[in-house]
């Protein structure tokens, strides 16, 4: 997996520049923790990296392809009428991925059968977040772009997330994650990027 190089990136929202002349790189096996105050441009940065937003200038090489990256934004992409299991199967089918055992992916994020099969609109905030994180487990992709993935997670959820992160980077994947709080677990390959200081 090639190193991701971001060079002199400028991103604006409306007439306001939220990311200005930002450069960094991330290699396989690394976790980049993007910090910053509200409005510092963390979400905009991830949206550019995942292809949802175009930068004003600068370049990203190589831009992770759809098939190579998972992006989890502030919203969980769970249709409230469908269960977590049905939502997971839908996203896999839409992306042309085959999941051998979707229930196991949901169990890996702590959603047991009863929670996985009820309409996801009836799940708690933390359970919905876990259901979104199950997409990371279900289909292996080298790049994880995670925007505030810890929102709503309880202590067990944080431990579980730490485990997912460690396993992913241990297997040669890379993660760019935004969060206001310190990331759980102890990762030797953790680096921080503070957008408020940039």
């Amino acid at each position: 997996m090639p190193r991701l190089e971001v060079h002199q990136l400028v991103v604006s929202r409306g007439d306001r520049i939220v990311v200005n002349d930002l450069s960094f790189s991330v290699a396989a096996g690394e976790v980049l923790h993007v910090l910053g105050r509200n409005g510092a441009g963390k979400t905009s940065l991830l949206e550019v990296l995942c292809g949802l937003r175009r930068p004003d200038s600068g370049h990203i090489a190589p831009q992770p392809e759809s098939r190579e990256r998972h992006w989890i934004g502030h919203k969980n992409a769970l249709n409230p009428v469908l269960s977590a299991l049905e939502n997971l199967e839908f996203w896999a089918a839409l992306n042309g991925e085959r999941i051998d055992d979707p229930r196991a992916a949901l169990a890996a994020v702590g959603l047991q059968k009863a929670q996985a099969t009820r309409p996801s609109g009836q799940l708690s905030t933390g359970q919905k977040r876990r259901a979104a994180l199950a997409r990371l487990v279900a289909a292996a992709r080298p790049w994880w772009l995670l925007d505030e993935p810890l929102a709503g997670l309880d202590v067990q959820g944080l431990d579980l997330f730490a485990g997912l992160l460690a396993a992913h980077v241990g297997g040669g994947g890379a993660v760019i994650v935004t969060s206001h709080q310190p990331l759980p677990g102890a990762l030797a390959t953790l680096r921080s990027l503070n957008l408020s200081a940039a």
Partner: protein, 221 residues
């Protein structure tokens, strides 16, 4: 399963659990078509003249009912953003979504149309033309509505803007659809308006999903 198949199946799954939502246009359509004769007088010969317009305008209004919600739920829960960055072309996903919408809300109207046509005093020839005109024209109504829904997806008062935006775009389908049935009822050939409906259908199916994809990218980008 292909991406288009996945989204088509998902729309049907959601609709099956929200029966009231997709049954609403059919019920609305039935009410419009059944109340009109009472307003005019059931035995009036004028009813036969108005029948094509009643059925076509009813179909247009019924198609408008569900259109505003087309992308709203996907926007609210974050699915739309994921679809935007998926490997599959967004236009294909939109086309599949609109095809499911047609199957759920317009296909029952098409199937029910002969019954309504006979009920409003049309004879067999015009009823057959009515069926074909709706079969050709309702996808145009749904795809046009889908494009307008994509244009207004982020707008705060989409419910108000959408009909204003969409009615001029849907009007040609109503003119040619009603015209085909009127021609058949007058003993003339309905081929020309049906061909026009076919042309509108071809344009709608090929261009509007791409235009809607552009509108969604613009709204979320």
């Amino acid at each position: 399963m292909s991406a288009a198949g996945a989204i088509f199946r998902r729309e049907l799954q959601i609709a099956l659990r929200r029966r009231a939502e997709w049954a609403q246009p059919l019920v609305f359509y039935g009410i419009v078509a059944l109340l009109f004769p009472l307003g005019i007088a059931p035995e009036s010969p004028a009813l036969k003249t108005f029948a094509p317009a009643i059925i076509w305008v009813g179909a247009l209004l019924a198609a408008l009912l569900g259109v505003e919600r087309l992308f709203r739920a996907d926007l609210d829960d974050g699915s739309l953003e994921q679809m935007l960055i998926a490997e599959v072309p967004l236009a294909l996903l939109i086309a599949a979504k609109l095809a499911a919408q047609w199957l759920l809300t317009a296909a029952p109207l098409v199937i029910a149309s002969p019954l309504l046509g006979y009920g409003l005093g049309l004879e067999t020839g015009p009823v057959i033309v009515l069926f074909w005109s709706l079969l050709l024209g309702t996808p145009t109504l749904i795809f046009t509505g889908g494009f307008a829904a994509a244009l207004t997806v982020g707008a705060p008062r989409a419910g108000l803007m959408l009909p204003i935006l969409v009615l001029p775009l849907m009007t040609p389908a109503v003119i040619f659809g009603g015209g085909a049935v009127r021609a058949a009822a007058a003993g003339l050939s309905p081929e020309a308006p049906l061909y026009f409906l076919g042309a509108l259908l071809a344009l709608s199916l090929t261009l509007l999903p791409m235009a809607a994809a552009g509108a969604l990218r613009n709204a979320l980008g």
